[in-house]
Symmetry: C2
């Protein structure tokens, strides 16, 4: 079955973040969302577009950095120039999504949904169903977030504490509160209650509701976003004045405290591909080495983990468990799945020693 388009629904895709824990695959100049990280032949951005097209049609708005707008346009070449908003600088998610809301408010969008360009989702039908349910509640004025069924007690994600079901929207629940990344034991307790879901940062809302919620917290912020949408030529002048704040802190948490946020449980699988451990798991936890790229370039003996042959050379791995080898034309990373978080420190060190060209 093919999902139906949701009338008046616009998809917003923030495409930002350097993905430093995926260095040297992901770089500042060529971030994670532009890469095919699943071996599907499609970049994460393209996969995001593919996933949204059945429900949003061509009503897609990507918000990305000026440096990446050409690459984004190339990957989404069927879309017109109106489909990409270029941020002059990175000012966190409230500014990015808020600008999209202000633009869509003027375009007469009924409901918008925001979905990061660099996450991996399987279960397109389930995803579309969840967004449709969220859009219906959003049309009634709710700020709706899609909550992911946790599969393990992760300490890497924030959680949504889910409350009672809405009377007029079966399957949609109130949000009691958003909670920050917990410890693993606390996360384990969350899972046992069955009332907590991962916060994947997916918000579905009327553009005007989003901007009005923001205006309650920071009237100037909302007014500036609407001013830019009205006079796009003022973007360069006004953008640098916007606060740098995440949308969760700016509006989702205060609105939840006021009982104005709802959540739709998503039964699809979701991964933010935060590091090479996550990527290795995503590609399969089978014995032996997962290869992202041409398996003919990898010789592995008595080894497990992830190998990314990306420079054309043969990569031989002998006798290492849970190893991560990422080979690119100008930099090579060798680490383990358990140390995958520390890759970020390598990027910091490269900057310190004057090799920012490699980051």
């Amino acid at each position: 079955m093919v999902a139906d388009e949701i009338p008046g629904f616009w998809a917003v895709v923030p495409a930002g973040g350097a993905g430093t824990r995926l260095w040297p695959l992901s770089r500042a100049g060529s971030p994670k969302f532009l890469h095919d990280l699943t071996g599907s032949g499609r970049s994460l951005l393209e996969q995001t577009r593919d996933r949204l097209a059945p429900i949003a049609g061509d009503r897609l708005l990507v918000v990305t950095g000026e440096a990446h707008q050409d690459a984004v346009r190339r990957q989404l070449d069927a879309l017109g120039p109106e489909a990409v908003l270029a941020e002059p600088s990175a000012r966190d998610s409230m500014a990015a999504i808020g600008l999209a809301a202000a633009v869509l408010e003027r375009r007469g969008a009924e409901v918008m949904g925001s979905f990061a360009a660099d996450h991996v989702i399987t279960g397109a039908e389930e995803f579309a169903s969840a967004v449709a349910a969220a859009a219906a509640a959003a049309a009634d004025g709710w700020l709706v977030t899609i909550g992911i069924e946790p599969t393990f007690p992760s300490s890497a994600f924030g959680y949504i504490h889910q409350g009672e079901e809405l009377d007029d929207h079966p399957g949609v629940c109130r949000v009691v509160e958003f909670v920050e990344k917990p410890s693993v034991p606390v996360a384990q307790q969350y899972l046992e209650t069955g009332r907590y879901r991962w916060n994947a940062g997916m918000f579905v809302v009327r553009p005007s509701v989003l901007l009005d919620l923001l205006a309650e917290q920071d009237p100037a912020f909302a007014a500036t976003l609407r001013a830019i949408a009205a006079e796009p030529e003022r973007l360069g002048e006004l953008w640098p004045t916007l606060p740098k704040i995440a949308i969760d802190h700016a509006i989702a948490e205060p609105a939840a405290a006021q009982g104005r946020v709802a959540t739709v449980p998503g039964s699809f699988t979701w991964d933010d591909v935060g590091d090479f451990d996550s990527l290795a798991g995503l590609l399969g936890d089978a014995e032996g080495c997962q290869v992202l790229g041409d398996p003919g370039q990898v010789l592995a003996t008595g080894a497990s983990g992830l190998v990314v042959p990306g420079s054309g050379r043969v990569v031989a791995v002998v006798g290492l468990d849970d190893v991560v080898v990422v080979d690119t034309p100008d930099a090579l990373l060798v680490t383990t799945r358990s140390r995958a978080q520390d890759v970020k420190a390598i990027v910091a060190t490269l900057k310190e020693i004057g090799r920012a060209d490699l980051t």
Copy 2:
């Protein structure tokens, strides 16, 4: 003090062996002895030449494969064309060293000493003293081998069982027998007796004694070697008829059984750099990563082992102990010191899958 030249002494340097356990650094087309494996700025062959020059002057004869003779000549450019013998094909050490003996017999050499081109020795003075003592006994007709003081119970080397001191050559002992590579417990017993030494394949002998010993075992072999020395133009015709046998089996073991072999204890350190574990130990067992090459190209965090940056790329290693990373322009190896022996299998696999170009 500088070692004295040993009158009438010629140094023979067999330069062969692909060093497959040092792949991808060592290749069939660019074997181990042509590489600077110690970071000294000199290849193993050049270091061998440097070590022999004080005792042999320009009386050096390198025996190598035809494919390598140009590279050898380039590295030893001060030597004339007479200094290199090119083997049409690899026929093991008896043929290589025997041909050198036959050539040197005609050149009137009194004593020759054979020293592999791809071993690492520290203690040039001690080396020169041992060779001088060996040469004195060799002049009296002995086949003399230099025995290395074992520093651990290695199961990777053959051993020399040392007997009584010779009456007329203080410090030179009879060889009771050569023993093949023992198990570690047996090697431990050898060490406890104090009468066993590592066989480093260093033989010092009169050329005619060597050839006569060979003639006792295989008259045709010795006769053919002398025929080639007399008529070098017959090399291509006669070489393929020579047996493939190691000098140890061909003459050293039978001669030891007859009580005609002596040994000089060498107090210098010696390493055959057989694999990356050995190489890592040679470069230092300090904490952290040993780097063979430009340390500025390596970022190591929480890692120990050996990194060879050889392609101009930055190599980042995070959180791996005793790792071995060898980066070359067309092939990359990632393994551990304990699995260093298995690198040979990768070379075999590459040949099987039609990538002999990388070996």
